[in-house]
């Protein structure tokens, strides 16, 4: 709490010298660095010449009092008060000296020769107090020398306050909005703590700024305590914000780190209250020093960690922190060693940059979220396309299976009818005939033949297309009994043969008819003892050979017409050779379709 004042004086224009003097007078300022002071401290009155600036808290640490400074200068204001602020009589008033004062001196007040300016201050023990050197001179000159600092000093506070309110509001809204997607999940809505720290930091700064100036409505120690607590909270939340951005708020130390702002604020409150209540001037100073040290120590470490960051946010925050650290050091120099308290607080400026950091964080997150959502949309589109293709393939397979099932169901239905109807009837008829005549008569033989053909038809239904071996094997299975009844000894030489894919159901049936006819001929006409059935591949053909050792026939004169017709329909080569020692029938089928 600094009370300083400087007085600015206007050179009276009326008494301006001609040209040169006027210019000189218009640009020159007077700096009064000595004054006669009457100081009342603790019921003691001191009167002496002092140099300006006069730092009360350094000359009379821990004491309050009053002082009057009188300085003489050539152009003077005489006895007429030109400005007054505050209450010289009572303690705990407003801080009126927080900024420099530019006090215009009315023309009529100055007179030629000796003038005297008188400045009275009230100093309270727990505050900074004193008087800086007085700067006198023409308006423009004074402004040129000190105007900027004055303006900044005057206006920085309100601007900082507005900026912090804005950033704080932004941070609060960002925090209140739940993390995208978390509302859909079961359980509590998730909020991003990063924005909470930012809001808390800005709120602490707002409190600090409000508690620096104004009329304390509460006891001074509480006011001071809250002010310093806000400083501590601001530092603590700033650290949390920086750590959260760096992603280093995990692990075992997390609960301690989260409590940092509270601890810092509590310590600040204690120092502030103690300073105000007990007059421990240096306690507040020590708190500031410690807080500054923490920032100064943290900033380089954070900058070092940020070197590996992928985004711009962390390095930017590191830069802000380092600026803060530098500003803190600059302010130390100013406060503890500087002459003039009219300095702009650089820490205040640099701390406002945190708001900038928040904006950058938000922008960067928006950008990455946009990129991510575009990527997700592309992935989703691709996945959907894949699934659709899978689905289409599945449907095709299902269709194929359904068709096959329909075919199988149809086949089963037909078989059921044949089984229960025709087949059972034929079997019953055969049985009844045999009951009367145990040896197979002509009718019985015909019926058996009919039943066998029915069974062979059923076999073809189940056969794989082109499975000639299966056809031959099935034929043997069905006819074996009859062959042994006739006394034929069967020799079986069937190799493992490939399936002839070009043969469809009709071709299979035709082949079966040819084979059945051939074997039937042997059974009925050949009067043979042995029957050879062989099948194998020769060159590009599958050859089936049926040979018996029966009577034979004159193959030049008798041509089995149906056999030849079937062979032509099948596209097979039929060779029949017959003589008195037996007959050979060979059917040659191409392995591949033409």
């Amino acid at each position: 709490m600094i009370a300083i004042a400087s007085a600015a004086l206007i050179a009276p224009r009326a008494e301006a010298d001609p040209a040169q003097d006027k210019d000189a007078a218009a640009t020159r300022t007077l700096v009064l660095e000595a004054a006669y002071a009457t100081i009342e401290v603790d019921e003691t009155v001191l009167a002496r010449r002092v140099t300006l600036p006069y730092h009360w808290e350094r000359r009379h640490p821990g004491f309050g009092g009053r002082a009057r400074f009188e300085a003489d200068f050539e152009l003077a204001v005489n006895g007429t008060r030109i400005a007054r602020e505050g209450n010289l009589d009572g303690p705990e008033g407003k801080n009126h000296g927080r900024t420099s004062r530019m006090l215009p001196i009315p023309e009529g007040l100055l007179r030629e020769g000796s003038n005297r300016v008188q400045l009275s201050i009230r100093a309270d023990s727990a505050r900074f107090a004193g008087v800086s050197a007085l700067v006198l001179g023409p308006d423009e000159a004074v402004w040129a020398a000190h105007g900027l600092g004055h303006a900044l000093r005057t206006h920085l506070g309100p601007v900082a306050l507005q900026w912090s309110l804005l950033v704080g509001a932004l941070a609060f809204v960002l925090w209140w909005m739940p993390v995208p997607g978390s509302a859909a999940a079961a359980g509590a809505v998730r909020r991003d703590p990063l924005y909470l720290y930012a809001w808390a930091g800005e709120a602490s700064l707002v409190v600090r700024l409000l508690f620096l100036s104004g009329d304390p409505p509460i006891p001074w120690w509480a006011w001071s305590g809250i002010g310093l607590a806000a400083v501590g909270a601001r530092c603590g939340f700033g650290l949390l914000f920086a750590l959260e951005v760096a992603g280093r708020l995990g692990g075992a130390t997390r609960p301690f780190i989260l409590g940092l702002p509270a601890i810092w604020a509590a310590v600040g409150f204690g120092c502030g209250a103690a300073t105000a209540a007990l007059g421990l001037q240096n306690l507040a100073g020590a708190f500031f020093a410690a807080s500054s040290l923490a920032i100064v120590g943290f900033a380089p470490w954070y900058a070092w960690q940020a070197r590996r960051s992928e985004t711009i946010v962390q390095p930017l925050l590191a830069a802000v922190l380092c600026l803060n650290a530098l500003a803190t050091i600059w302010d130390w120099r100013g406060y503890f060693h500087g002459e003039d308290y009219a300095l702009v607080s650089m820490s205040l400026v640099s701390t406002l940059l945190f708001g900038l950091g928040l904006v950058v964080v938000v922008l960067q997150r928006f950008r990455s979220a946009s990129g991510l959502s575009a990527e997700l949309a592309a992935t989703l589109t691709r996945r959907i396309a894949d699934r659709e293709a899978e689905l289409a393939a599945s449907y095709r397979r299902l269709e194929a299976v359904a068709r096959e099932q329909a075919r199988a169901a149809e086949r089963a239905r037909v078989l059921r009818q044949m089984h229960d109807g025709v087949g059972a009837g034929l079997a019953a008829a055969i049985r009844q005939l045999r009951a009367r005549d145990p040896s197979d008569g002509v009718i019985t033989a015909s019926l058996r033949d009919a039943l066998d053909r029915l069974k062979l038809t059923v076999d073809v239904l189940y056969a794989e297309s082109g499975d000639v071996v299966g056809l031959l094997a099935g034929l043997r299975h069905r006819l074996e009994q009859r062959l042994s009844d006739v006394g034929l000894e069967l020799r079986w030489q069937i190799e493992a043969l490939p399936e002839l894919r070009w043969m469809d159901d009709r071709a299979m049936q035709t082949l079966q008819s040819m084979l059945l006819e051939t074997v039937s001929n042997v059974m009925q006409h050949a009067d043979a003892r042995r029957l050879l059935v062989a099948a194998g591949t020769v060159n590009d053909e599958l050859r089936v050979r049926i040979r018996d050792d029966g009577r034979g026939f004159d193959s030049t004169r008798i041509k089995p017409r149906s056999l030849h017709a079937h062979a032509r329909a099948l596209g097979a080569r039929l060779t029949i050779a017959s003589g008195p020692t037996g007959t050979t029938v060979e059917i040659a089928l191409p392995l591949e379709a033409w």
Binding site: M418, H419, R431, A473, H477
Partner: protein, 223 residues
């Protein structure tokens, strides 16, 4: 010397003529005795559950008026493990017979056989022989041998010998011819086929799943 007890046979057939014929075949064969004859599925199940007398063979027609003979076969496998089931069929077509074997049957008979042939078939089956048609052998090979589909288990269900026997049978060779080629006894070949039937019954459910996967109806484990 011990006179072996004649084998008791239950006949399940709804067609009167056929049933009478089967019963007659059993009764006129020494070594076989008719334990009972029923005409419906319900009656067959009741007989299996309630009648205490011993049973060695069941002859079952699959087409019963109140249901499928497959249920009778399954019930017999469950509660009368010493009993052999033979399915009676007109054609002996492979689908019918395989379904019966999956349910637990050990063989099949053609209805149009003579009485002697029927009795002989029953005795053959009871003595360990398991008739198999070439078509059935082919079907069994396709079903139980690994086909190289991506999601099937590498372990083959058939032993090498069993596969060999099936391959010869599928080509139409008789049991005797197969025994001669493999240089084993006829009984050994029959035993191989019988053990095949047992595996088929046990693994029929697995095979159905495998078949479905092969056709792509079921998909394999999620990627």
């Amino acid at each position: 010397m011990d006179v072996p007890r004649p084998w008791a046979v239950l006949v399940v057939e709804d067609h009167d003529d056929t049933r009478a014929f089967l019963a007659h075949s059993i009764e006129t064969t020494p070594g076989l005795v008719l334990a009972g004859q029923v005409t419906t599925r319900a009656a067959a199940l009741a007989w299996l559950r309630d009648v205490e007398s011993p049973l060695d063979v069941i002859l079952v027609d699959l087409g019963l008026p109140d249901g499928s003979g497959l249920d009778v076969i399954a019930c017999a496998s469950a509660i009368r493990p010493d009993c052999e089931t033979i399915v009676v069929s007109v054609f002996g077509d492979e689908s019918t017979v395989i379904a019966a074997i999956e349910a637990g049957a050990v063989g099949y008979l053609h209805k149009d056989r003579t009485a002697d042939e029927i009795a002989e078939a029953v005795i053959t089956v009871k003595s360990g022989g398991s008739p198999i048609s070439p078509a059935m052998a082919r079907r069994l090979l396709a079903r139980m041998r690994p086909t190289g589909a991506p999601s099937e288990t590498p372990r083959a269900l058939l032993s090498r010998r069993e596969t060999e026997v099936l391959e010869w049978l599928a080509r139409g060779y008789s049991y005797a011819e197969v025994a001669a080629r493999l240089e084993v006894s006829l009984h050994t070949v029959q035993a191989h086929v019988k053990s095949l039937y047992g595996k088929l019954a046990v693994h029929s459910k697995n095979a159905a799943v495998f078949e479905a996967m092969r056709r792509g109806i079921l998909s394999g484990p999620a990627r």
